[in-house]
Amino acid sequence: MNFSKISIVLLGLLLSVAASATTIEMEVNGLVCAFCAQGIEKTLKGFPATDAVLISLEHRLVAVALKDGTDIGDAELRRALTEAGYTVVGIRRTDASLETLRAGVKPHG
């Protein structure tokens, strides 16, 4: 297998991972109260691609579940949260469902 074939296979793998990402997780600074969360939730639910939103103040986490076959660009998300008054410090995509993330952020005990 030559280099170009390996590159094509790797590119295909990367694209398939990106295409299967169902949830976007964002780490957000300034997230300290319910009103903050309410504003962010309202903003994100305005995207046609948004299926549901999860916000955890404790984990400084804002997660967006995407509708099948849709996406929201990182730049668009950063702009939306900046215009909502908050600072995005990190964005990552995951295959984990919102329910899985929700279970992970629930307080233990």
Binding site: G30, V32, A37, G85
Partner: protein, 216 residues
Amino acid sequence: MKTRLLAAATLLACAHVGAWAKPIAFARGTTVMAEYGAGTMNEIQAFYAPRYWWSLGASWLELNSEDGSTQRRIELARANLLAKRWNLPGAQANAFVWGGLGRATGNDFAGSTLARNVGFQADYETRRVYGAFRSDLEESRHYSHRIDTLQLGWAPYAHDYDTVATWFVVQGRRYTGDLVRGTETALLLRFFKGGVWVEAGATRDGKPQAMAMFNF
């Protein structure tokens, strides 16, 4: 039942009140607030924020001196501006300024007069501690009142978006212009969840205070 009533009465008697929320909740959000401030200061406000950093609305304010001799009713159109926000990991700080114009009536002058208001608020909060200082200047050619309010809050647990937040808030407030002598101190018990905020308490001399705020 009697014990519960006694406990509630004791809590109210220990307190003294007034809590200030932020004049802008979130972008494309409407805030409606009503406060009963021990009969000294009663207020209703409604604002709409097109962006997270400014809002427009109206307020109705009633001020009564503690001896009952002076009364003001002030109706204003008001604009609020978030001058600066600091978003920190697990904390937020804000500096707000605002101004308003409208009309006022009083029992020590005839008719109505042009009323002016300017003010600012600086606050800092985490999920467990809260501090805010607010200053309002209410003026017309018949009166001038400055109202300074300091609030310090403590939450017994860190709330999250889907849980009820509980706060104990201590407040100190000073009025100029012969409304109240010295510093009023108060204790409030505050709850909020989602877009609903309610709080109640009492002044040190046992006068009740309450506030409700709705964001949507």
